[in-house]
Symmetry: C2
Subunit: 217 residues, 2 copies
DNA sequence: GGTATTCTATACTGACCGGTCAACTATAAT
DNA sequence: ATTATAGTTGACCGGTCAGTATAGAATACC
């Protein structure tokens, strides 16, 4: 019973847009309400706190990521090309946002992580689990690629983490240089990282096993 | 003439520590002053605004990076091992901060970039130029490695950007997973990225030149 | 020793913050 | 039609924000 309203969704949408563009601490509840066309009192009818709205925003963007991963899982593509496709779709997102707003914002997850990891362990862990889903997707493709004999993957999980980190780093660099094409232009690197070998001696420093490149001048 | 004071340096140091740990928007001038043991009036004697102090903090951390790059430029090391050494030194920094504070903070530059790229174009460009210095270092090593015949580098600048992005991404992931070892454990990937080929057709999508991996199921 | 200058000290401003509150309206179920 | 419920409204709260005002204290230079 009682009346209906889409104010909750409007708040999430407004907060999503503002958070993408400006981060979390830089925006206020008032800003979100104004953009959503909702009064401040109503805000606290739907969300106990600003932070709870942020959690909802992260959920919403996680849904977006789920869609991207689904689109990248095209059965017509070879596994390694699905990874490449992930990079291209993400790059497309960056370029689209740039067209609309004139700014390359990078990865909303990554930005929130950089801003809030130290401030709020709950948010950090939530973002970690979203990243985990991304890594798992990549790992799955790597395993499939290995099964097909497309390449040897010594440690799929390790390589998947490397590839996902690379994707995040590319977006950060793209945002800092305000050049959204960067993700697309450097997507190839993901395949190079797929060939990452097993970590034999994790504690050893630069003086690893002797190789050609190890000889000094 | 007039009296001497190291309050300015104490403010920078305090702001550095707080910014590393919490970012920019999350900390207040009051917090900085308390940690530095400086009164608020003195703060505005040395810095016209909080933002100006941030610029000084970035300069200070840039100095730290300069030192790291210098240490990584060990002439005893082969060029590619210098890149590896950069990753190890950065990883060491992360692990040291983790020991001291219990948190992996990631890259201070990267965190500021993620938080402020959209908010303040001057800060963004300053950070972009710092990143540019990092990329230039890597590019230099790649060129030298190519000269020595350690590997073929089709496009050193492109590969250097990829490697630097990877370093940033690793730190972001390490911070989110609160696992400082990540940078060290995945440092090998940097060398894989060094082998990044030239970008033949930047506009083409996933359907690039036919290769073994391109055949669908 | 006088004095210009640098630095310190603290009270203060007005704006803004996240969040509260109580009165109110609309509606769905009975 | 009554009533419980869901949603709305805007004023309001204490606290904090970046930044200011205005003193006075310390000191290097003449």
């Amino acid at each position: 019973m009682g009346r209906h309203s889409d104010a909750r969704n409007r708040l999430i949408q407004a907060a999503k847009e503002l958070t993408y563009a400006q981060g979390y601490n830089a925006i206020g509840v008032k800003d979100i309400c104004e953009r959503a066309g909702v009064n401040k009192g109503s805000f606290y009818h739907f969300f106990p706190s600003k932070r709870d709205l942020l959690l909802a925003v992260i959920d919403a963007h996680t849904e977006w990521l789920r869609g991207v991963l689904e689109r990248a899982s095209d059965p017509e593509l070879a596994p390694l090309d699905r990874i490449r496709q992930l990079f291209l779709l993400v790059g497309q997102f960056d370029e689209q946002v740039q067209d609309e707003s004139g700014l390359t914002i990078g990865c909303p997850f990554g930005n929130l992580a950089a801003e809030l990891n130290a401030q709020d362990p709950v948010i950090r862990e939530k973002l970690a689990s979203v990243f985990g889903a991304g890594v798992a997707f990549v790992e799955g493709q790597l395993r499939e690629a290995a099964e097909r004999g497309d390449l040897e993957v010594a440690d799929p999980r390790r390589a998947a983490q490397a590839i996902f980190a690379y994707l995040e780093g590319l977006q950060l660099l793209a945002s800092t240089q305000n050049s959204p094409q960067l993700v697309r232009l450097l997507a190839d690197g993901a395949i190079r990282l797929a060939e990452l070998g097993e970590d034999i001696d994790p504690v050893a420093g630069a003086s690893g096993p002797p190789e050609a490149r190890n000889r000094p001048h």
